[in-house]
Amino acid sequence: MTKMMRTFLILLMLGLGVVFLYPTITWYFFTSQEMKDLANGSLSEIRQWAENEAETASEEIRQLSQNAEAVSAPIPEKFGFLKDAAKKNYRLVDEKMPKEWTLGAVLNGFRNFNEVNAAIEDYYRQTILDLKDLKGRILALGLDLSGGLSVVLEPDFTALEEASTEVLSAEDKSAALEAALEVINNRIDTFGVTEPQIRRQQDDSILIDIPGEADPERVNSFLMGRGSLGFYIVDDAGTEAVRSYMASGGKIVDRRPVEDGILDEGLVALGYYTKDSYGIDQFKGWIVVPETPGLDGSHIREANPGTDSNTLQPIVTFRLDPEGATIFQRLTSENTQKYMAVVLDNKVKANALITETIPGGSVRVTGFNYQEANDLAVVLRTGSLPVQLNVRTLQSVGASLGADTIQMGLRAILIGIALVFVFMAIWYKGAGLIADIALALNLFLLTALLSSFNFTLTMTSIAGLILTVGMSVDANVIIFERIKEELRLGKGRAAAVETGFKKAFWTIMDAQITTLIAALFLSQLGKGPVQGFAVTLAWGIGCSLFTALFVARLLFDLGTEGLKRQKISIAWGIK
């Protein structure tokens, strides 16, 4: 290969590196925290934000359009994006484009303000969606660096097997697992600001990653659904007290009124929510119930919506296990003519009057319309997981701890690299600088490669990175030592470099390939941190082979032929 070709190839790699790294750099250095949070958010949140932004912006434009001076002035910079939408509209109606894009000209491209508003909303939404897309192409930070919660759940089918009369087939298990996945999805969506990742893994375990969330007790809220659903007898006096307290501007924190004396000990105030037409919870009022449920949801076997054959009223029928049936019978007999609240995750989902004692464990709840009956059935279904899930592994890291770790890690890596750089430059003089360039390029290419496949950087992969630095220098050292030997034999620069590289080639290959075998096997170890370490190391070896054998060689050759150097600066004793 000619030197031109080799230079070209390296420049190509550099260019590719820049392309790969561009999203990462844009994300970490040129994106505001607010935008990052939005891009991390769920789609409905993005819609909300875009709507709000569009409303403000179109209001501003409306104001401007009242002003004759502003209308004839060029459109303000921040609304420049409207030009594109206007242009498209002009083209659609085959109208001549205006010479100058004044605010008036742009607005002429739209039929009415609603269209302007839609265009603005579109723009804002697209901005965030693009950012979300960008996020998929960056070097992500692992939970240990950015903070967050990661849980792996494994299903335990024994309870399900005991409950059913037949032997569970693989399909049954799979279906139960899918249903459980859906339940978890529902629950996490209700409280998350950031978008969680919920995945079913190959071995049927469920992986949940919630970035930014660090409270391990939160796991209860979506995992212990069997416990968090319950039937409560409503405390009417308490409910009345809380209602009047709230009407006079009271405040409820942690399920209790801020002021003492409003509620007796052992009672809690819960919000009563019903779903609106968008399926979003609407607050109805406060309901006071005892802290412990009369019957907790673990006793529910199944729940079905239906119609009463006599009254044609919608009902929800749920079946309890034998123990639950006994408890429920006692509960209803003691509390006839009182209200019963069905509570899920500290939210009252249904509130119905108990008219009579309910025996037998098959409970029909009336007093709902069809929609409510369906909802209740769903609540009860999602309230208890179809299959018992146990925590296999859990990792939660507070965001501040993560920040400390990454700072420390970055400091360690920078100091490590700096030491190696300085040492190489001192020990090998000019050649050391070439090695330093190769090393810098190696790190650059490695980060670019890792970001290209959206690699998640953890503390151990930073360790892998540091080790790569140490070991990638090895290839250079082997070559330089060979070149020195050739020089001692009295060879000139060109010949020494030529033989040095040639003799070192297979030594380096053999040495690195064995390390690569170890690294590849390591990457098969199923757990995140070790895998991260191995992947970094494996790619690091690849990159270092390229930079040490190819890039460093080119730099030497360029020095020999381009700069007409006869001598080589490689050690203190040799000239």
Binding site: E217, A412, I466, V477, L489, F521
Partner: protein, 352 residues
């Protein structure tokens, strides 16, 4: 170039290694009560808490005595502790129950409690990981053995792998004896050291192979000494640069990663040592044994073979069919090497 006569020290070197490994392992198994397995291998929970009011580890341990926890101070800010509680499968919903209990008990005793991080590994995962690791390591070693066998020869491969076993045994012994936590990071360290040590060994073996083709007038032990000496500066510089990077982590990082870095430091030192003082002597021993066998079979036939072998060397009488180690001084070999190299370079110059 200074010539190092490393093969002379093979007996003390190998026995020191063996003694240290035995001492480490004996201490680990009989006095320390086995390895200090982290939660990766032993089901349980690791909770890092911030309890400003707690004075020391003892105070935290007392509050949680029901669970028989291990408590360690975390960081240097004070008030931060790592609490480790093993999952003995007696408690249902271990993760939730224990997390709640820990935070409640600490709250009752010290007021403010913040859970900074938490890690839980269930029992099924813990046992999986251990067996998986051992198998993967053995398969990886098998593949490496195969690779070296193909690229070199079987005796090289076996010597290199023996050196690797030496390193792994030493490193694990060290980790056990000093009761460093045995975690997935330890596996990463061990596998890294396997790669690193092999790397080191192979660079030297590569030189030995090359020299044994060029140098015809010397015994195999001299070839080894020459090769080790030739690659000595490379060995030291590479170990030094890698150590620079790893020591930086050891000094500036904290937590698991610090233990990881410490294992790497020990591993790099041992790996470097083993490629010089363990791998090469084993290769030599193997060679000598083969040679002896060859000799014995030749002795039956007659003396022709040995005279034929001896005729090739002119100056030095010690041809490579002498099984005993070192009969020359280091200077003599160095001089011979210098002479040969000079003669070679003169020849090359003449050609030009």
């Amino acid at each position: 170039m200074k010539l190092f006569n490393v093969t002379r020290y093979r007996v003390p070197a190998l026995s020191t290694s063996a003694a240290l490994i035995i001492i480490f392992w004996a201490y680990t198994l009989f006095f320390a009560g086995g390895f200090n397995f982290g939660i990766d291998f032993q089901a349980g929970i690791n909770i890092t808490v911030d309890v400003p009011a707690a004075s020391d580890e003892e105070a935290v341990r007392d509050v949680l005595s029901d669970y028989n926890p291990q408590v360690q101070t975390a960081g240097d800010k004070g008030g931060q502790f790592i609490i480790r509680i093993a999952d003995d499968l007696q408690v249902e919903n271990f993760q939730q129950t224990v997390t709640d209990a820990v935070s409640e008990k600490l709250k009752a005793e010290f007021g403010s409690v913040k859970i900074l991080s938490e890690e839980y590994i269930g029992s099924s995962f813990a046992s999986n990981l251990a067996t998986q690791t051992i198998w993967l390591t053995l398969i990886a070693l098998g593949l490496i053995l195969l690779y070296i066998w193909i690229r070199f020869k079987l005796n090289y491969a076996v010597s290199a792998i023996t050196a690797v076993f030496h390193d792994v045994l030493f490193l694990l012994g060290f980790i056990g004896a000093f009761q460093l936590e045995f975690s997935t990071a330890t596996i990463a360290a061990v596998l890294t050291i396997i790669g690193y040590s092999l790397n080191d060994t192979i660079v030297i073996f590569d030189r030995i192979r090359e020299n044994s083709r060029i140098v015809k007038d010397k015994g195999f032990n001299e070839v080894i000494n020459l090769s080790v000496s030739q690659s000595m500066s490379r060995t030291l510089i590479t170990s030094f640069t890698t150590l620079l990077a790893v020591v930086a982590i050891l000094v500036f990082a904290s937590g698991t990663i610090k233990t990881f870095a410490l294992s790497l430091v020990v591993g790099i030192v041992v790996g470097t040592y083993s490629s010089i003082f363990v791998a090469s002597p084993i290769l030599l021993a193997w060679h000598n044994r083969e040679l002896k066998k060859a000799h014995e079979s030749v002795a039956h036939v007659g003396h022709t073979a040995s005279s034929a072998a001896g005729s090739s060397s002119s100056g030095s009488r010690s041809s490579h069919n002498v099984p005993e180690p070192v009969k020359q001084t280091a200077e003599e070999i160095a001089e011979a090497t210098e002479r040969r190299l000079k003669a070679r370079s003169r020849k090359k110059k003449k050609k030009k």
